[in-house]
Symmetry: C2
């Protein structure tokens, strides 16, 4: 044991040690933990050191639900029981102090931990303190990297790491990020990991061509510079590619799920094989050393749900180490040891080499020439949307927990909490959750968990809104407004509408409510009348409602809500009966416009024909239509790969057009003349019985909304279909387009090209698809056409000026990557195939101004207002408007996190939402005064944390990979916080409710 | 813990406590073991007590070899690793003192034990002393019951139980016999278990009709009276039928190999199922109680190779017990507890009921109407024969170890031992070994192990014979004399032949040696010339030799050897060149005879036509021929069952005749006239290219020898074949025939009939097959025709006067009982199909005299002389004859075991080999004086043991099932040992080499 140096990190005691509370509280440790780098086994400098890393990879849901995996239920689907894994590993670690194990997924560890006795908990603490059990990654799950939004990833990492911190102190803090399974790797994830204080990052999957080149060049370990905006080394992350994915070398899998021969070392029994095992191992070790740079190599000794019976692994690993190292007395120069990723990383760091630098990302991932994992960018579009709005709802819920104080959790409407939705959102970030690569019953379980989280949040929201407004009138939630279903508004003659805005700036928002009246009077919080109109429910909406509502009309009006606050609108029925149908114009109009945009349509086809920005006086030719790729069924001469949940493989590179024309183009005129609609104009092109779209241009909006509805995708022809919306423009995009990474920074994508190797393109469509989390754009010198999406989708730019986004997929075959089901979604409500609806928001700007539009626009889509209802007349004393902020924040600043941490503390994250140089106006440092932030909270103290809030920022000393750690330019005061482009800063605030 | 009562049974210290050594040595125990019945958990008298018995069933070879099973190698064939099972169970027992486990197969436990540290060994001792780990059965393996010979079964049980005794003392002594898997149950096994001191016996498999009746009648538990000769309760054994074979009730298998839902008792997680589990369990328990007699029921919680990860089982069983017993506070009257078979048995005994009595056996076993497990009676006939002669060789080896003293184990020829062959023979008794129901590679492994055992014994035998004879000339072993292969005799001009006789009476034996000379002179130990003749090697033998020898002739002569001793014959070549062919008689003879028998043949067919006993003047019509049944391939209207390694299912009830005539019938005349051959007459009928037979009548023999050679069985017609030899006689057998049980007592078999239930016969052939271990007969008032076999075979009497015996099976389909291979034996030497050779010995007698012939005859077949060779002239000082006995034992007494036990002790078993009443002359009590037994050993003391030698006979107090334990009629003195019919007595002798 080394000399004690670290004190145990007891979070609550140390919480206020930092700056503003004066002298830090220190504890003399009773025991001397030697966890972390100090607990590593010694290596032998002159030898090839082989770091054996026993590990298990426990998917937080995939073929089974997370709880089925935990308990080992439904082993008929897959043999896997995490409760037993942890039982077994702890037992086996106790048998030999040399043994090591790493654990990754806190969602599982948490479940296990709360079932353990005090004795067992103490035993495990001891193992953690001695570095024998080490947490790596440590988030609630191992998130997907292609389809997750950074805000949800930060949340789930924060939750997992906080549990480890609260439970184990500093020995529970992972030093290494570990994304061994996700199907490609996002630069934004690396950036986040760096800001969370990780010293290194290891993964298993990358393009096979990339891997081959890196093996030859010994560039499987590198420094990833993961941001173009943040000052290095802030987003620099040492990144290593594991040698065998995350599996053991061939022939050395000793799990109960494997069949490799055990070490048979009793000479009295048959088949003594020690010599054979040692020879094979040395051969593999020497071979592996050839494709890495140092005299240290790592071997992952484990795989999916392994170590349920850890004895099999450890008993044989003990023998392997003994017998291989015995050969040293015969001149062998191979030294094998139990290790962990951080111990391996420490040795790489000690070697003090200069590592190659990586600037782009690891998308798309192909494991063979026709096997591009680009299908899951879109798989399960409904789940992807539900996850995204659940994030919005969770942020609102957490804000209202802070703004409401204790009454939010126990108030007039009962016990509410944000915890349930936090956990549901955390598991939904898993790389087989929002990714859409789980079995159908598991997807249902994720959705069920989210719905349960919503229910718990709704009580909390009701409690807080009741407290803030002074009205305890029952609050009604309508979760199906997107298909015009809301029992209250459909029947009530008088109701109020509360619009809560989770953004730090005011928003204006069009509200569309299902009603059966023909005229309503609406007044805002100040009693002022608000314009409204009533229009018939669209045919497309009626078709997808399936008996869940019977509104014949929609009531439309524009609402406004203050930052981090709400505004209340009162609605009264004036007149019943169907609306008088607006008289169609004598002939189909060819254009609509508002003060910002003008859109024209082709008279013959009804399709979009051009888009103009009236402010900047720029116009592009623009058409849009729907197509489908015929999914490969594997009956292909070149390879048998099918399109499936993971993989996108079109049978031909030319998609089939669904309809060359809109089936009909109606333009209704409301309130004002067609060309200058007061509220909006809308077009309802039906492209086919299973694809339709409403085009909306809102009065106050700089974006054109395309609301698409796709499904049930027909499969009567036995052809799997992957449906895209394609924009074709006159923009000279030169084979380049842009996609965001996890909703933040944008990366350039070039057709048939990868920045770090000479690509041999083998899939002209799938090989050019990239994940679009929140936006994509094409541009030339003059024009940038940006699409903001409402969920993660895959897309590409196959032709210059063209941008296609995949909306929905319905497939007939499994793609043999393990899920074992074709992605063929049906449900009770849609037994003939899932119907999915969503929105694309189009904007046109000069490139230098585009971010000024798409950044706030995307923010409004990600954090949408929460609309709640109360029936009848509100009590006159009701507070109709509220803002939690003292003032609007600067436009560059996004209030990323406001969340109750402990009784008196609030977790706050402020984010600069612009990249460096993307906006002349906004890509500048900006300062916020925390004292002047909240209207309802007194600030008693502040401590800055790392991004995941499990370390004080000033204690965050990451391994330095030959780069000096620059000192931050000081903030003007502890309260004045400055943010540079793309920076996120995380604070714990000690507060008191006013 | 209860008051200590037993002293730890430290075998060496207590070894001489008994009678002849005076005052017993007693030890005050340091600890107070509460093993055995004292360690059982309390039950609740007013409730239904459910005894949960965690157990694993570890086949000592089946789909994998015994060492593969031990290590968990070849998990691709079957996931099973016994080393891990024992590791895991011990770990889990330590976690909760309430938990129990039973272990059965000492072959595995021994392997594991010797790899453990002292600490672990002490831990396990503690568990055994506390009754938490209990051994049941405890033999080296769980023997097959249909095809094993009692002497080998006693040996393997003795070896396993001795290991437990030596290791754990009295707490290691199993109280219960446990044959949960063997495919039918032999009465002789039950008799042996009773004599080994077991209090009860449990098994899982019996005829489905029998089981159904017993369930209705609540007769699944009974008292088995397992001998018609031994005085009750000497062979009485309480016998219980387990409720689910040996598996857990449906839905309650929590092994890693099962998919049943675990108990999910965390209300915070999904799928809480405690109520469901408890309800299902109570339902099953109540249902089971309906088919048993008492308020105690047993549930076997385990199965094949389960508990490799015992945590899964115990964690859920702990919960099951907790939650089911919690219901008692709500009025439930079910009490669940961890238990063992002995604890369950104790409760049954306490109930003090009168149990039904069982007198017959449990053969044949059918699990459904067309699924009779009667094929394995014959499966792998070559392995069955190899096992049988290995037993003979082992007995010789053990005798020579005693007779040779220490020099036998370390002498002029190096280190020899009997241990290796003991172990090989012990594993060969397993119910998937000699039974022939293992995979081919496993059968090969059993044979390889036996061969290795032979090699070790050969060194021992050479050492002893060298010591006893005073000649250290190298000793040559010829193991292929049955196919006339022996390099030494084929080439040598002068050699000596040593014939060792393991029986306690002198034997005369025809020797047949492969030679290339035409005339030899032979002299016996006294220098007297011995008649001999040289005949050509038969065509059949030449055909099966396959280049392994090139003798053209066979040298024939009769040898004699003294009891437990040898005689040496010297052989010198007189003349080279082929023998002058004996002139065929002018026409085929129709009869041969010696002084005991006369045999006639049909002139037209060449087949046997009659057999006469010349002494008793009785004659029966008798023909014999070969037939084959067409094995069902499952394409049958009634059921899809195929014939396979386990199951015999002929497609039709009429077998196909192979040839209606012998293809040619040559009678050669030797030395004397044909009708009175000096040495023997032989006939070589070829029935077809793949079936042949030699009929021999030896001068001194009361039996006619039919040496059959079968194979390669042709399968070019895609028909599986099951080849029989059928005797058809004029005996009026009235649907009855007789078969022995494990080579000892004989049971009556009646066609289409079972003694204990009204049989609905559904397979007219297979349903009338029974195991024949050593003999079968048919009889009427006057005539008994007995066939003694040289190995275990299946057979039946389908027509009156007929007796058929299955010789060989070659099948094209697996019979879906797990082995997963068709029984289609080939080998390197016989790639086109295995050729098998064997002998049937026929005798004809009046029924009351038949045993006088077949008992000694079968004994000679089981314990055949060992023939060894030395090349060249023997040194004149060589001792050419030796007997280890002072005198010949009485004819009724068989020297069953002579085996070195410890340095100064010898294990002796004396057996009365006649049944009560079967022989007027021999079925009488007989007395032996142990002092006068051995010629080379001084008797210093004697202690009588139970049959398995793990208890002093006078301490053997079995549970008394309402029967008084009769005191034995005292022996005349400690040295004068009397034996009643079918009695075996077991002694430890303290000896000194003279």
């Amino acid at each position: 044991m080394a000399t004690p140096e670290y004190t145990p990190f007891v979070f609550l005691l140390l919480l206020f040690q930092s700056g503003v509370w004066g002298v830090p509280v220190c504890q003399t440790p009773q025991e001397s933990p030697t966890c972390g780098y100090k607990s590593c086994h010694a290596t032998k400098p002159g030898m090839l050191n082989v770091h054996l890393v026993p590990h298990t990879h426990d998917d937080v849901g995939w073929l089974k639900t997370v709880d089925q995996y935990f308990y080992g239920d439904r082993n008929d689907i897959q043999h896997a029981g995490v409760q037993y894994i942890l039982d077994s590993v702890v037992d086996q670690l106790l048998k030999n102090p040399d043994r090591r194990f790493i654990y990754v997924e806190t969602a599982f560890f948490y479940r296990w931990w709360k079932q353990q006795t005090d004795d067992m908990q103490n035993t495990v603490k001891q193992l953690v303190n001695e570095g024998r059990l080490e947490f790596v990654n440590g988030g609630w799950c191992m998130s997907d990297e292609a389809t997750t939004h950074y805000s949800a990833v930060i949340d789930q990492m924060t939750m997992g790491l906080r549990f480890l911190n609260d439970t184990f102190g500093h020995c529970g803090r992972p030093r290494v990020a570990w994304h061994i399974d996700p199907f490609g790797h996002a630069r934004e994830h690396a950036s986040m990991f760096a800001q969370m204080g990780y010293d290194g990052f290891f993964f298993g999957r990358l393009d096979y061509q990339d891997r081959n080149r890196r093996m030859v060049a010994r560039e499987q370990e590198m420094l990833w510079r993961a941001s173009e905006s943040l000052t290095p080394p802030m987003a620099d992350l040492f990144t290593g590619i594991l040698p065998n994915g995350y599996n053991p070398p061939e022939g050395f899998c000793w799990d109960q799920s494997c069949d490799d021969p055990p070490i048979r070392d009793d000479p009295d029994l048959e088949d003594y094989n020690v010599d054979d095992v040692v020879t094979r191992f040395l051969h593999i070790a020497h071979g592996q050393a050839l494709v890495y740079k140092t005299n240290h190599i790592i071997m992952t000794m484990g795989s999916d749900f392994q170590y349920e019976n850890a004895n099999l692994w450890y008993k044989n690993l003990d023998k392997l180490i003994r017998y291989v190292n015995q050969m040293q007395s015969n001149g062998s120069e191979v030294n094998v040891l139990y290790s962990t990723p951080s111990c391996y990383l420490q040795e790489l760091h000690r070697v003090n080499l200069t590592w190659p630098l990586k600037g782009d990302d690891f998308f798309p991932y192909a494991d063979s020439a026709h096997d591009f994992w680009t299908g899951y960018f879109t798989s399960r579009p409904a789940l992807k949307r539900y996850e995204r709005i659940s994030n919005s709802y969770l942020q609102t819920c957490k804000q209202l927990e802070v703004l409401g104080g204790p009454i939010s959790r126990k108030g007039p409407f009962g016990a509410g909490d944000s915890e349930t939705l936090k956990k549901a959102m955390a598991v939904a970030q898993h790389h087989d959750a929002v990714s859409g690569t789980e079995k159908q019953h598991v997807a249902n379980d994720y959705a069920r968990k989210l719905a349960n989280g919503w229910a718990h949040c709704q009580v909390l929201v009701s409690n807080t809104l009741s407290s803030l407004s002074g009205s305890s009138a029952p609050r009604v939630y309508c979760e199906h407004l997107n298909i015009s279903v809301c029992p209250l508004t459909e029947t009530s003659k008088k109701f109020s509408v509360n619009v809560y805005n989770p953004l730090a700036r005011p928003v204006s928002w069009p509200v569309r409510l299902p009603v059966n009246g023909t005229a309503y009077s609406i007044s805002d919080a100040k009693g002022k009348a608000v314009d409204s109109q009533v229009v018939p429910v669209s045919q497309a909406t009626a078709a997808v409602r399936r008996g869940r509502g019977y509104a014949v009309n929609e009531l439309l009006f524009q609402v406004q809500a203050p930052p981090l606050g709400y505004s209340t609108y009162s609605v009264s029925l004036l007149q019943n009966g169907p609306p008088s149908p607006p008289s169609p114009l004598p002939r189909a109009p060819t254009a609509v416009q508002n003060k910002f945009l003008r859109v024209t349509f082709d008279r013959e086809t009804g399709l979009l024909s051009s888009l103009s920005n009236l402010e900047t006086q720029q116009t592009v030719k623009l058409s849009q239509n729907f197509y489908w790729y015929n999914a490969s069924d594997g009956n292909n001469s070149e390879s048998i790969q099918m399109s499936g949940a993971y993989i996108f493989r079109p049978n031909t590179s030319t998609p089939f057009i669904i309809s060359k024309t809109s089936l009909y183009l109606h333009v209704f005129q409301y309130n004002s003349i067609c060309m200058r609609p007061t509220k909006r104009s809308r077009f309802i092109p039906w492209f086919s019985p299973w694809v339709s779209q409403v085009v909306r241009l809102y009065t106050d909006s700089r974006a054109l909304e395309l609301e698409w509805t796709v499904g049930p995708v027909p499969i009567g022809d036995d052809l799997g279909k992957e449906v895209i919306s394609r924009l074709d423009s006159s923009i000279n995009s030169s084979g380049v387009f842009y996609t965001d990474s996890n909703g933040r920074e944008v990366l350039q994508r070039r057709k048939d090209y990868r920045p770090t190797w000479n690509l041999r393109q083998s899939e002209p469509i799938a090989g050019n698809y990239y994940p679009i989390n929140s936006r994509a754009y094409i541009k030339d010198d003059k024009d940038q056409l940006t699409v903001v999406t409402d969920r993660s989708q895959g897309g590409g730019s196959i032709q210059d000026g063209s941008l296609e986004i995949m909306l929905h997929r319905r497939l007939l075959y499994d793609d043999v990557r393990g899920v074992g089901e074709p992605l063929n979604e049906t449900s009770d409500i849609y037994p003939e195939g899932l119907v999915v609806r969503g929105r694309h928001l189009l904007s046109l700007s000069p490139p230098a101004m585009a971010a000024d539009t798409h950044r706030p626009l995307a923010q409004e889509v990600v954090l949408q207002p929460l609309i709640t209802f109360t029936d009848g007349e509100l009590h006159p004393s009701t507070r109709l408007e509220f803002s939690g902020l003292q003032a609007v924040l600067p436009p560059a600043v996004h209030l990323l996190t406001v969340s109750q941490w402990d009784q008196d503390t609030v977790l706050l994250r402020l984010e600069h939402q612009y990249q460096a140089s993307e906006s002349k106006e906004h890509s500048q440092p900006v300062t916020v005064n925390l004292q002047k932030l909240f209207s309802t909270l007194d600030m008693l103290g502040v401590s800055e944390m790392n991004l995941s809030a499990n370390q004080w920022k000033d204690e965050m000393t990451r391994l330095d990979w030959k780069k000096p750690l620059p000192k931050r330019g000081g903030d003007p005061s502890v309260w004045e916080v400055s943010l540079k482009p793309m920076e996120i800063r995380t604070f714990l605030l000690r507060v008191r409710q006013r």
